[in-house]
Structures are given as structure tokens and as C-alpha cells.
Assembly symmetry: C2
Homo-oligomer: 210 residues x 2
Amino acid sequence: MGRASGVASAAPAAPAASADAADGPCPRPLRADAKRNRQQLMDAARAAFTERGAEASLEDIARRAQVGVGTLYRHFPTRQALLEAVYVDEVEALCTSAEGSADAEPWDAMVAWFDRFVDYVATKKALVDEMMASVGKDAPVFRACHDAIFAAGEPLVARAQADGTVRADVEFVDVIRMVSGLCMIKNASPEEIRRVLRMALDGLRFQPTA
Amino acid sequence: MGRASGVASAAPAAPAASADAADGPCPRPLRADAKRNRQQLMDAARAAFTERGAEASLEDIARRAQVGVGTLYRHFPTRQALLEAVYVDEVEALCTSAEGSADAEPWDAMVAWFDRFVDYVATKKALVDEMMASVGKDAPVFRACHDAIFAAGEPLVARAQADGTVRADVEFVDVIRMVSGLCMIKNASPEEIRRVLRMALDGLRFQPTA
DNA sequence: TCACAATACGGAGGCCGCCTCCGGTTAGCA
DNA sequence: TGCTAACCGGAGGCGGCCTCCGTATTGTGA
């Protein structure tokens, strides 16, 4: 993560991770078996959501994780909770990809990030159905991811604006909304989406003559 | 409908309509009670999908239509079939709205139609989840709707291109893909979407200097 | 090392929606 | 009026959702 308030929670890949960070005082650090099962559930869920979509059967996820449904529901009371847990990880990965482009041309750096944004999203449509919905929503987890995305992308747009390449009257919210929308295009190849993205982004540098 | 191969089937509003047009020779014109039930089902479905989303319970739709589930499934073997039947009607309405703008400025006429497109879609997100998926897909019904939309919108874009307002190298498929994507933006007010749409459409008239 | 809470596990069970199947009903023709 | 093809409706099998509670495991204090 770059700056940004660090999206929070979501146990890392390592098995012995610190799966704390709920909201309250957190009296106990989660028992060993619980920690293990939680991780297995997240892994199974990530796989299932990726290949079957956000509607993947929770019972099936539990089976894949070699865990009873009860356990699944204890860790993640709702499908939404599970979806979020997985998706927070993903967002982090996306956001870090914004770093290290400081030396490129502002416009190119910006376009490149949005390219990655779209590619990235393409591989997890299911998860991102939720993620897209977060732009503008104020649920706690969403809020954090939303912030992370802004922290990653806004500077890129600002730089292109300072540079004069992007017209001054566009706002990042609108741009991210636009790109989010384009991510939802169905039945289009990556190249097709990229072409559309280029076209739409060109709107950012159109200088109204009026 | 303008030109276009007339989207087909989907019984009109009038109760005594000719609900034929399946695919084959159609030996019988559908019995009176069947015709009535079919209409009730479509009405109930339209309402249910609009207010509960595309996941609305089919059993509930049958109940609302005061018909057994069996009847529902006989008329519409799959949820998809029902969705399509309802959605064909909707697309027709959208397409006809492209007519009568021949006297406006090409750019304005085009923008206005896409505005309507987005507004229209906004009120039936559920249905249009399917519709959006149709751009590029080749299922029979989809094909027809797809054609109808192209027949309605393509001339508008072509006119703006002939006019020189829209750059010559954009293709209608891409434009409709772009707008379709924007329709999917979540949690945004109509004005916000309109702003994004304007921004994206400006990309069509950006003249690359290179 | 042992014993005993505190925690966590897992799956049976109630509920609901999907879809199929078939005995009973009805429209419409002769 | 009688007959039959066409149609109706809902019971029933299946699978997913979620809850509840008896059983198993962990880890801590003696």
C-alpha cells in the first residue's frame, strides 16, 4: 500500500498471520484452528467466486475448504461479508500497482493505470460487481477501499491535469465512475475494451472550444 | 419501429393481440386462455423484475399472475426466456425514440439519443443486465434487439461523423459498448451519470493531433 | 501434566426457490 | 352436444440458504 489508510484486516497469505483488526477491543487473537479454517475459506471463496461468479454456492465453498457450512457462516455471517473479505485483498494489489510510474509522461502513466485497472477487474468480474457498487456507497469496508483507490489514482489524474493534457474541469470521481462502467462491458475482448477505454479517456483531453 | 427487422414476437398490450411469431410454422394461433395467461405472466414479470431485480422469484411471478408455476414454465421454459420476452418490448420503445430527430444538429441529436438510452436503461437495470450482455452475443432474440438498436443509433453517429463533429475512426459498436458500460455505473444519480456520459462522448470528437 | 472452560466445529433440519411431470380441466371444432 | 388436442396447476424432488446445538479442540491456570 502507498499512503491511504491501508484498507485494513484480511489476513495475508501466510498461515500464521495476525487475523485481528475487527472493530472493538478484540479480547482474544483467534484460536489456531479457527485461523486455519478462516484462511481455507478465503482461498476457496476466491477460487469459487472467480470461476463461478458472485453467486457461487456457499455450501460448495465450505466443501472446498473442507469445512462445515456452520463454520463458514460463523466466520462470515453473510455472503457479502465473505465477498468483502476476499475483495479487500484484491483492491490492495490493484492500488499498489499505481506506484512506480512517477517517471512516465503524466498522460501515459494515467492511461496505463486505468488499463491495468480494467485488466485487473476483468479477471474478477464477480468480486468487482461488488467493488463497482462501492463507488459512492458508504459501507465501512467499501469506504476504505474507495479511499485506497482514490489515493492511488487521483494523483495520476491530477498530474495530467497540471500538465495541461487533461482538461481542468474533470473530477476524479467522474473518471473512476466512467472507467468502472467500462469495466462492466460484457462480451467484449480485452482489446475491444481497451479500444473503448482509449476512446472514452480521450474525452478527458477534449478542449471545449465554446 | 423504424426499419430494422422488427425485433419480433412479444405480444402487444392489447388483450386480443396476435401472440404468434415463435419460429416454426405455428400450426395453431394459441388458445384464448393461453393467450390471456401469457399476457398476465408478462405483466407480472415486468413488474417483478422492475421492483425486485432480475432475480425475482419465478414462483412469485406466477402467483402475481394468478397462474400455476407449471403454466409459467410452459410459456417460458427458462428465466432467460421470460426476461427476453419482457425485454423485447422495452427495446422497441427505446429504438423508436431515435426517430424524429432528423432536424436537430447531428451532434446534439446523437447525444440526446444516448441520454435517453441511459435514462431508459436506468429504470430497468434488472432487465438491462441481460440487454447489455447482448451486445456482441449471438442468441437469436438478442440478435434481433441488437440489430434494432444498431438500426436506431448507427445513423445518428454516422451523421455526426459526416458532419465532421465526430472523428471518423470510431465505430458504432464501440460507442454502444461504451454507453452500455456507463449504464452499469452503480450508486450514481442521473445527473452524475449524465456528466460522465458527456465526458466520455467528448472522446468521440477529440481530434488526435499526432 | 492435567483438567476444565472457552471456543470452535459440523451437519441436521427448516425454509424457500427452481424445475418437472402428470392427472384433471377446458376451449373450440364438428 | 360430444370429443380431443391443448392447457392448467400444483405436488414433489432437488439443491441452496441459514440456524441451532451437541460434540470436539484448544490453551490456560493449577
